[in-house]
Amino acid sequence: MPKAPQAVQQSYQQMSTRMAPRKPILRNMVAAFVTGGIICSVGQVILNYWIAAGQTTKDAIGLASGTLVVMSALLTGFGVYDLIGRFGGMGSALPITGFANSIVSPAMEYRREGMVLGIGVRMFTVAGPVIVFGLATSFLVVLVQQLLR
């Protein structure tokens, strides 16, 4: 059957939006704040540990990020991080732990298609855009910085 006229489509879409439940935005914000806050506090504890262990602040930052990534990868492997993500939403997606989860989870999921075509090709299905546009943006920023010199 041909697509309905634009007016019919619009009125149905409006009705659908009106009848659908609203996302619990306040609840999601509070959950994201708490989850993100906990992850960052854990990160701070780890950072302090590395500094106390005698690392320079610069090295300790790198080590702390690395520790968080390993922790997140482990939690993903044990099937816990998706539960944290379901509760915390953006609060667990935004920190570096979320980035690690977005790479480890497809690596786990697609391992059945093999090392190369499974893990190799599809490991960055979720995180790929972040890397592509992250690289592109840093290139542009450095370009502008050099030109302004």
Binding site: A4, Q9, Y12, A20, P24, Y81, A93, N101, T125, V126
Partner: protein, 346 residues
């Protein structure tokens, strides 16, 4: 030759093929749902010893086919056709299940409408005298669907309240030639739906994409057969979910059909939405397949349900076309079924 057609879209089956036996096999989450007592088998886990979700889904279909043949006391060689489908690319789960089954096979794709589609085609084959016995089956699997249509399973993200959970399981029904026996469960009419598209683009609200197709097929079926909504004890849609069913009700009301208590949805029945984290309800081919092969078939056989219209609903969603900006078309097929409680006539 007289055409066995009524109106624009409905086929009338004068011999009323019998739904002789049905089998429902479900995953562990469905096995904790409100319909748990109606399933033939509840699997302990979703992988059941297989190496992948896709292999597990194939194994579930095979299990459902095996159980339905066992219940009917038949062997594979007694069955003329197997009509089956699922949600995977190239309907892989059904194809690979059929590889191990010695029955001529017709693979079908109707997204989540596949169960009614398969039952309708099977019933037509039987009614036309092209099959003494035909099997209709459909399956879906939460994990295989998630990885194909959405995100890797362990990826942490939040779901909007309008999303639904893909049912893990398979339903199979065995249709045999009708003999005019009114103590049997029988198919009297089938209505093949048209693809409807009201421009919905949200893959997190499939119910809204399918509701127009469901409403259209229901009203077309009623007008083709000259019936009122109240002629059915139950009109049940496949997997519209809570919000999709509301939309369908509203669309039917706008076209002058008031359905009150006798309109329900398999996606709502299959899970306990308060206790299980399923948001708007169940979805997937198996949603209407196992609800019919389980609870509804039992109600029909026991005489608690007389006249049923099963309307499996499918969102013809493709991640590729969706990313290219296309909307999500919907389709719905209807199968009119009578149990012993309906008596003769109709």
């Amino acid at each position: 030759m007289t055409l066995k057609r009524m109106g624009r879209q409905t086929l009338y089956l004068p011999t009323a093929p019998i739904i002789y036996q049905a089998a429902a096999v479900v995953g562990p989450v469905e096995g904790k749902g409100p319909l748990k007592d109606h399933y033939d088998e509840i699997l302990p886990d979703a992988l059941i010893g297989q190496k992948s979700w896709e292999k597990a889904e194939s194994a579930i279909i095979k299990r459902a086919v095996q159980i339905v043949l066992q219940k009917a006391g038949l062997e594979q060689k007694d069955v003329s056709f197997l009509l089956a489908g699922d949600l995977l690319n190239q309907i892989a789960a059904s194809n690979f299940a059929a590889r191990d089954i010695n029955i001529p096979y017709i693979g079908l794709y109707g997204a989540c409408s596949t169960m009614a589609q398969a039952m309708a085609v099977a019933a037509v084959f039987v009614d036309g005298g092209y099959a003494q016995c035909a099997l209709a089956a459909a399956s879906s699997h939460f994990d295989s669907a998630e990885r194909q249509y959405r995100y890797p399973l362990e990826f942490g993200c939040q779901r909007p309240p309008t999303t639904q959970r893909t049912v893990t399981g398979a339903g199979a029904v065995l249709l045999t030639g009708g003999s005019g026996d009114i103590s049997a469960v029988r198919v009297t009419h089938v209505t093949f739906g048209m693809v409807m598209d009201l421009g919905m683009k949200d893959p997190n609200h499939m119910g809204a994409a399918m509701a127009p197709a469901a409403a259209h097929t229901i009203s077309q079926h009623l007008s083709d057969t000259g019936q009122e909504p109240s002629d059915y004890d139950l009109i049940i849609t496949g997997d519209l979910g809570v919000y999709g069913l509301e939309l369908c009700k509203k669309l039917l009301l706008d076209s002058g059909l008031e359905l009150a208590d006798n309109l329900d949805d398999c996606g709502i029945r299959i899970y306990d939405r308060n206790a299980q984290d399923v948001h708007a309800g169940g979805s997937g081919c198996a949603c209407s397949a196992v609800t019919f092969a389980g609870q509804l078939m039992h109600e029909l056989t026991a005489g608690r349900l007389g006249r049923l219209l099963l309307v499996s609903t499918g969102a013809l969603f493709s991640p590729t076309t969706q990313q290219q900006g296309e909307s999500i078309p919907g389709i719905a097929h209807a199968v009119a079924i009578q149990g012993p409680a309906a008596g003769g006539g109709g």
